[in-house]
């Protein structure tokens, strides 16, 4: 009995000791709350690490966000807009034939490694991209060069190359010659992949060196893209520990006004909820792509705020005109009147969406406020179907994707259900068909073998109408015959280089699209960022060209 009591005492002591240990650990951790915030350092919660810091070899948002602070482009966008402004080029002019661009360069600019920025450096960068060979030509590596400039000096795509040559006149003038007049050229030059990087650093740190792995991935063997990105921007790389943090510090050689913040730290936190909580605990000062359901929580919090990014996407329903009776404009008009877009946008986008009227968002040149509108009107839709000689209800196969969420389409099945219900009230008999987003759904819809109606959308690549309207020209999903006048109009606009003239042409194209209805755009959404209320001066760019130069902490 005595032994048992002793045993119990002993085990009780052991448990008590462990509890004390746990308490000590917990109490000692008391001091851990948040981090000691330095007012000249901003910690931004990224959703992932950058893929590379070599501007020309990136296409993902997280890489672009970081590299944007290090490098600059000849032409830039005014903060928070897509309006073009001078950056490394102070002015430019285009030749009468539209093929030759003369850029006058900013004087007194140097790269963060101390080497001068000049016309030779500009030409070195353009020639570098154009002369990519092997793995570097892979569209997963040089995505934007492939997209904008069509092809390289050598290889299968050479015949499509838009770029021909670059000539340096003295140190202050670069003349770039293209193979054809190319309207989107200036807008595309605002893309970070076309930023001018230090030729000396590119060479010294082997930016072009690398191999294609057995998995088809470009593996750099130089250290330029991981340790030595060098540009003319307000910040330069201090250190990068993948998975942990990437630190930028002020570039003392920056030609412009010194940024307020001395350091920018990008911390990868993949999970959305974890990013929100890190903001709440003060471990980060801001993050992007706030989930719609978290917006109310942030707005209610006294120390946090939501910042809206202008919309740069559009959600739409495509109509495949190769499927009868959708070749008839009256039937397509009936679809447009029969889709209750306002209800869907109001019900499913948590206040982040607005009803779209065209295939490009309002932030892009050529958006036309006066296009033909199709407010929800089921009776008018039925009349149109009857006047087309059809018996109601008109059967229609309507496809929607599963296993996907996009800013313009957070929950496709829900959008589909609401649209299907409104179409059924408008004289249609909807047959639902769904498929996993990739490859089944996209493959079928883009290849023109999906439904007559398909739920789709896109986020733009760069600030030019071509980036949005190009989709109408380049595939079969709309079932347009090759002779369709839309192609002629789009091709004509593509070769016009005067910005005002282009905008006018695209306004006219947008009206033509609204009248001929290859599809029905229904939503533009605004992504949200969250910051501490003390963070001021951040102007989100529609195209993710976010600039931290003017960001600071309020007192």
């Amino acid at each position: 009995m005595a032994g048992k009591v002793h045993n119990l005492r002993h085990s009780a002591k052991l448990v008590a000791a462990l509890v004390v240990l746990a308490l000590v650990t917990g109490t000692a951790a008391l001091a851990a709350g948040g981090h000691s915030q330095a007012s000249d350092t901003l910690v931004f919660g990224a959703s992932a690490d950058p893929v590379s810091l070599d501007g020309s070899l990136i296409n993902d948002g997280e890489s672009i966000r970081v590299v944007k602070q290090i490098v600059q482009t000849l032409v830039a966008q005014a903060p928070g807009t897509t309006n073009l402004i001078p950056q490394l080029a102070t002015k430019w002019k285009n030749s009468p034939n539209g093929k030759v661009w003369t850029f006058t360069l900013r004087h007194g600019v140097s790269f963060s490694d101390g080497t001068p920025f000049n016309a030779k450096a500009v030409c070195y960068n353009f020639d570098r991209w154009y002369n990519y060979t092997g793995a570097l030509q892979n569209s997963s590596v040089s995505y934007y060069y492939n997209l904008v400039f069509g092809g390289f000096k050598t290889g299968a795509t050479a015949k499509n190359a838009v770029y021909r040559s670059c000539r340096a006149i003295g140190s202050g003038t670069a003349i770039i010659t293209l193979t054809k007049p190319f309207g989107p050229f200036l807008g595309a030059l605002t893309l970070i992949p076309f930023a001018i990087q230090s030729p000396t650093a590119l060479l010294r740190y082997g930016a072009n060196k690398g191999t294609l792995s057995k998995d088809g991935v470009f593996v750099p063997s130089g250290t330029y893209g991981t340790q030595h990105p060098t540009g003319t921007g307000p910040y330069k790389l201090e250190s990068w520990t993948v998975g942990d943090k990437l630190t930028l510090v002020r570039n003392d050689k920056y030609w412009g006004k010194k940024p307020f913040l001395r350091r920018l730290i990008f911390r990868p936190i993949a999970d959305n909820a974890a990013r929100l909580q890190a903001l709440q605990t003060g471990e980060i000062d801001g993050y992007d792509n706030v989930e719609p359901q978290d917006i109310a929580t942030i707005q209610k919090s006294s120390g946090l705020k939501i910042v809206n990014r202008p919309s740069f996407n559009v959600g739409y329903v495509t109509i495949n005109q190769s499927m009868k009776p959708f070749d008839n404009i009256k039937v397509r008009q009936a679809v447009a009147y029969g889709l209750d877009r306002a209800s869907v946008v109001n019900a499913f986008y948590a206040g982040r969406g607005s009803v779209a009227s065209q295939f490009e968002p309002p932030s892009v040149a050529g958006w036309n406020p006066n296009v033909t509108k199709y407010p929800y009107d089921p009776n008018k839709a039925k009349q149109l179907l009857q006047s087309a000689g059809l018996t109601l209800p008109v059967p229609v196969e309507f496809w929607y994707p599963t296993n996907v969420s996009r800013p313009y389409m957070p929950d496709p099945p829900r959008n589909f259900q609401a649209f299907a219900a409104s179409l059924e009230k408008s004289g249609f008999k909807v047959t639902a068909k769904s498929a996993p987003w990739r490859p089944d759904y996209l493959g079928a819809v883009i290849g023109g073998t999906g439904g007559a109606l398909n739920l789709l959308g896109q986020t733009g690549d760069y600030a030019d109408p071509e980036s949005f309207l190009g989709i109408l020209r380049s595939n079969q999903q709309f079932g347009l015959p090759a002779s369709n006048p839309l192609y002629t109009k789009l091709n004509a606009a593509l070769s016009v280089t005067n910005l005002e003239k282009r905008a006018a042409m695209y306004k006219s194209i947008n009206q033509y699209i609204a009248q001929t209805l290859p599809g029905v755009p229904y939503v533009n959404t605004k992504p949200a960022l969250a910051f501490k209320k003390t963070v001021v001066g951040f102007k989100p760019s529609p195209t993710l060209n976010d600039n931290f130069e003017l960001v600071r902490f309020s007192k």
Binding site: S52, S140, S213, D215, G243, E283
Partner: protein, 336 residues
């Protein structure tokens, strides 16, 4: 013993072969393909076909499998599509984080689980025992993901006691010669960094330890109850040995045999739980890496990373089996 060890080592061959077939089959059953992951969703069918041909994805499945075995056998686990870094480099960087977290969780589970099991066994049938049972049941049944969120909400967001993400405060400047952050802090004499790394480990380790802790506590309890009625324990008591000595030398030592096996088996549980825990706490280990690879359809990472984790689990289980042999003379001597 040697024969037993060799037999167990030889068994690794079919196990690893089976594992590689399972992983290969699973990756091929996933929707999409590496070609589409590489080129993005708006890639043209022609460029996808070209990449498929480049990567040999148009070859018969057994040819692809053999190529996979050859590559992996040569120590090349491929290259991440998302980060363009070799999978082995990523493992070198992330594995220490997961090991650190797993060790911390294992330490916590053993440190609390064994005494708790012993304590409740000694108070068999009492209110303490019932309480221990309830705690264990909660530990086993509450999803790690949910527990992690609750812990984080209470101790990070509401109370602000502990950090909510990562392995170290980003404002701390520290060197990482081994990538084991606690160890790095100690080795480099940067005590602030070491202590900060410990603070970052507490919540994820507690969340991750919940299930193993409950299991260890229940197994210890059952084992102690079993052993303390054995003849040799009664004999030891009858000889007049002090109760502490009986518990230490006769009860615990023998009761630990099944517990050791269970602890070894928990490594698999800890590693799978690490995927969820690391995601919630943005802890940059293998878990967040594999989770991101699933979302990005990063096939080389999935193939290489899961194979690596599988091999680790198999090896740990082997070590446990061998150590079980060392602890248990009946196994140790069986081969003679």
């Amino acid at each position: 013993m040697l024969r037993y060890a060799v037999r167990r080592l030889l068994l690794l061959v079919p196990i690893l072969l089976g594992l590689s077939i399972l992983i290969f089959a699973w990756i091929h059953a996933l929707p999409g393909s590496p070609a589409e992951s590489l080129l993005g969703e708006r890639a043209s069918p022609e460029s996808i076909a070209q990449i498929r041909s480049q990567l040999g994805l148009d070859k018969p499945i057994y040819v692809q499998y053999w190529r996979y075995v050859e590559t992996v056998g040569g120590g090349d686990l491929g290259t991440s599509i998302a980060t363009r870094r070799p999978v082995t480099d990523e493992i070198k960087q992330r594995f220490p984080a997961t090991v650190e977290l797993t060790l911390a969780a294992g330490f916590f589970a053993v440190l609390i689980g064994i005494p708790l099991g012993f304590f409740t066994a000694k108070r068999n049938g009492s209110i303490w025992d019932q309480g221990g049972l309830v705690v264990s049941l909660i530990g086993v049944s509450i999803p790690i993901f949910f527990l992690a969120l609750i812990l984080k909400y209470i101790f990070s967001v509401r109370l602000g006691w502990l950090p909510s993400v990562g392995r170290q405060d980003v404002l701390i400047s520290a060197k990482h010669p081994t990538n084991f952050y606690v160890l790095d802090g100690i080795v480099t004499g940067n005590w602030d960094a070491a202590w900060d790394a410990v603070k970052h480990l507490i919540l994820p380790a507690v969340a991750l330890a919940s299930i193993p802790l409950a299991i260890i506590a229940r197994i210890t309890r059952a084992s102690v109850l079993d052993v303390q009625n054995e003849d040799y324990v009664r004999t030891a008591r009858a000889k007049g040995l002090p109760p502490r000595t009986v518990d230490r030398r006769h009860v615990m030592r023998n009761a630990m045999l099944p517990v050791t096996t269970i602890i070894g088996l928990q490594v698999g549980l800890l590693l799978s739980g690490a995927i969820l825990t690391e995601t919630v706490f943005a802890f940059p280990g293998l878990g967040t890496w594999i989770q991101a690879a699933i979302e990005n359809r990063d096939y080389p990472v999935l193939q290489g990373g899961i194979l690596f984790v599988g091999i680790i689990v198999v090896l740990v289980n082997l070590v446990v089996d061998l150590s079980y042999g060392l602890l248990n003379p009946r196994i140790r001597l069986a081969g003679r």
